[in-house]
Amino acid sequence: MRTAPNGTSNESGAAALVARDVRLTYPNGVRALDGASISVAPGEFLAIIGPNGSGKSSFLRVLAGLQPADSGQVLLEGDAVSALEARERARRVALVPQTLDVLPGYSVEDFVLMGRYSHLSGWRLYTRHDYEVARECLKRVDAAEFSTRGMNEMSGGERQRALVARALAQEARTVLLDEPTSALDLSHQLLVYRLIHEMHRGAGRTIVVVTHDLNLASQFAQRLALMQRGRMVSEGAPADVLRREVLEKVYGSELAYGMFERTIAGGSRPWVLPWARPETSDT
């Protein structure tokens, strides 16, 4: 696979993505980020979790370079993300949106080819190589058979496959995903996480996913970061973050805890469910 022709940032052992003390207040006065920091190692799978309004999605937009922070630093492979030229940035980091309304008339293959934009040369014509990469990525997510169908005729699961295929075609070493399962039923939630797993293990990408779903994050991610009020309150292996003492402070006490015996990421992992605990009759 081709990589970005920029050798300055590839010191060995450097983090794929670093954010230091990022602050962001929106024009309407809402303070979205209040000193958020994170460091993601190359090839790591990190899930950022947290309640509604904790700043997860804002943080992801800052990490992707879509939203400039008021203060703080975001380094992508050692370079400030805000200083990167748009195409150079796109060769290093891809963002998979939650859903996407694509105008009618574009086929799935057209859509996946768009991921090649940052690799196109002067005349910006797709080469044979671009078509090959697109076809390979479609195959990787089992979407080859509907590549000629219209992007806006896809079902939810098919569309997710196309979104992931496009991110793969972008050939960025880091892939960010914004709430990839929030609108999907159980089987599709699993499908999406299997695709993310494939990007991580199969294609060797660094993954940062923002999600509400603690249990899928716990099963698939190597590390969790829990956000509250615009900053990290807990960080570490799923078993260290999904603990009663930590979650009660963030989500309240109505939670039930348990363990997945075996997971795809290896070993046992905790699960958490909302539980409306009934009043016990003898108190």
Partner: protein, 385 residues
Amino acid sequence: MMMPPRHRAIWLGAVLLFLLPLLVLVATGYSETGRYGMLSAARVMLAELGLTAPSAEHDILKLRLLRALCAVGVGGSLALAGAMTQGLFRNPLAEPGLLGVGSGAMLGAVVAIALLGGYGPDMWTRPQAGDGLAAAAWTRVVALGLVPLLAFVGALAATFTIYRLATRQGRISVAGLLLTGLAINALLGALMAALQVLLLPDWQASRAIIAWGFGTFDDRSLFHIVVVWSGALVALAAMPLVALELDLLAGGEDDAATLGADPARVKTVVLACVALATAASVSVSGQIAFVGLLVPHVTRLLVGPHHRRLLPVAFLAGATLLLLVVVFQHGLCPVLAEWVAAGSPRLAVACRRVTSMQPGALTSLLGAPFFLYLLLRQGRRVLGG
């Protein structure tokens, strides 16, 4: 029609490219003022270059050739600007008029017509009696240039105002642009209405305003052609810079940015092209309705949404459409009038009337029902965007 859109685009483009010069020849050779054959255009050009002696009908033929070239430039510009606007706004119902180009140009033109006291070829073709030669030349230049100039300035000023007002913290939102455009268009329309009412007693000026409002290609001079084609060439030259990026915008601005496009740059380039091309067209020929909305829309149905195909084919289709209108009015209608003259004199009169109709009125007359038909036929696709 089961050809893939890519092949359809090539076919359509080739057919239109073949048709356009042919129609220019027809439009120059045949009209209500006489039929001089398909080679008239060549004869005019040779004479203009000083290679042959001008024929007796040279002046008439030259005016016809200029009219045809004007129609081609205006049709192409409006359709291309429309296609770019619809791509940028991600909405098949968007058109350059939303940016205030039309109403700004109209207000500028009305002001100029008021200052001149009218607008027509008699003001720039014949020297006024009693003037000195230099003074006469100067008045002719002013008479010729003031309306396009003020229309052009008005169009750009309106677009720029809307653009500035819709920009917040260096970012321009599409919704903001639409709403600001609506407000500014209303304001300009009101100003124009007020001016028109004030000018009502001045018959000459009122007549010129109405004529300009519906658009016309008649009696254009070389100067007009240069203005129209400058705008068209700028927009055509910018096509390769924005075509693929407009495709990336199909998923929204943020999505395009994550793919490596620069939505702010695309927006600036597209808006500048749309403003320039439309302002140049409208300042020369007045309002030609529906071309900027309808032609890109129909072209998209035929060749798909990919802007690398859509933009050039839309340009050719718009140019062909307006040229067809000219040929229909000045080539076909006089012939029809002759055919039916014996049987039905009234119908013949009607046919001759169409000849002197404003082409802008004709495009509305044909365009509006067709658009309605499209809306009804695939309402969900059009309205659902």
